[in-house]
């Protein structure tokens, strides 16, 4: 990378954050630094939006709006969370704002602790395309929880906070997604 301080150690943003120098420059109005941040993060932000909206045009709009909002909100960004998580939070908000109708309806949870494990594995390998199609077929609430917890690795508490739902609801939605995926993929899902 051009700026030594911005080198990335791993692809997992929980290990980072070497974006600090770029963020600092962007905060001071340096749009080139912000472009660098955009180039680094747009793939994950767009991926999240695409999986949540299931609509390529809407996903691109959401990703674009999320970056514009992030630029405006940069002075408020505090390094308590990683830049990537902060950006994802903005993207999720943008998707939720653009959605029409009810979202993430509360579902009953008997014992949320039953559904603690967000990682999901299969009895036998699944083609990516088949899995993506199965995810897209899920109801909105279950899909949101699965995308954030399962695909992007957020804890239930983080995902629930982003989605504006209770942690128990998030766990229940993930449990529901697991069951539906099992049916649709016709194989065991753990």
């Amino acid at each position: 990378m051009a700026d030594g301080a911005t080198a990335r150690m791993t692809q997992n943003d929980t290990v980072v954050d070497f974006d600090v120098a770029l963020i600092d420059r962007a905060r001071r109005g340096d749009s080139r630094a912000f472009e660098r941040l955009y180039r680094d993060h747009v793939g994950r932000v767009h991926g999240l939006c695409l999986r949540m909206t299931r609509n390529p045009d809407l996903a691109a709009d959401c990703a674009q709006d999320a970056f514009i909002k992030a630029w405006k909100a940069l002075p408020k960004f505090e390094a308590r969370s990683s830049f990537s998580t902060w950006l994802h939070r903005i993207a999720v908000n943008t998707v939720l704002e653009k959605r029409r109708g009810p979202s993430n309806a509360e579902i009953s949870v008997e014992d949320p602790s039953d559904y603690e494990e967000p990682v999901m594995s299969f009895d036998s390998p699944v083609e990516e395309e088949e899995l993506e199609a199965a995810i897209q077929s899920l109801p909105q609430g279950a899909r949101d929880a699965l995308v954030l917890c399962g695909v992007y690795g957020y804890e239930h508490s983080e995902a629930a906070s982003m989605l504006g739902i209770a942690v128990g609801t998030c766990k229940a939605q993930l449990h529901r997604a697991r069951g539906l995926l099992k049916d649709r993929l016709e194989r065991g899902v753990r």
Binding site: E35, Y38, G43
Partner: protein, 177 residues
């Protein structure tokens, strides 16, 4: 056709780049926001705070004048001797440190006034002059009635107000740089 197979859901690609580069639209929005911010800053007169300050100082001056007119003048036997005002100025105001601070402040305020646009300078200077004149009149009244505690208190308060006003003038516009 993507034939990659996965065993876990978190093996799905997290990076899914958009079909088009979103940056040009984002950059345009950023530039629009920047220029709107710059225009906003230009539209706001640089010395708007100074104008507000002149009004505030004028209010203080009026307050001092009103206070002075309400202070009961108890003409005593001593007042009849017409002592010079300097002899009756409260001790706090004769303090060398206070005098020195005020002199320094006056020089700094003069520099600040010189930097102001003529209109604002005239307003602020006029307000400060009104304040100063009020203080002079209280001092003169004290010269005639040196035992008047209310006048003494009014003088101390007015001088404190003057110091606050001078400090406000000195510090004006600093936050905008």
């Amino acid at each position: 056709m993507n034939m990659r197979r996965v065993n876990r859901i978190d093996e799905l690609a997290q990076n899914l780049p958009p079909p088009r580069d979103l940056w040009p639209a984002i950059a345009a929005a950023i530039e629009a926001e920047k220029s709107a911010r710059a225009q906003g800053a230009q539209r706001r007169p640089r010395w708007l705070p100074a104008a507000g300050m002149a009004a505030a100082i004028a209010l203080v001056a009026v307050g001092v004048l009103i206070g002075r007119s309400f202070a009961p003048v108890q003409r005593s036997e001593i007042a009849a001797t017409q002592q010079p005002a300097t002899n009756v100025i409260p001790a706090a105001l004769r303090d060398a440190n206070y005098r020195k601070q005020r002199d320094v402040l006056l020089i700094e305020v003069q520099h600040k006034l010189n930097e102001m646009p003529a209109v604002e300078r005239t307003k602020v200077a006029a307000s400060l002059a009104t304040l100063r004149r009020s203080i002079g009149e209280i001092e003169a009244a004290l010269g005639r009635d040196p035992a008047n505690a209310l006048l003494q208190e009014l003088l101390v308060n007015s001088c404190q107000e003057e110091m606050r006003a001078l400090t406000a003038v000195r510090d004006s516009g600093n936050q905008e740089i």
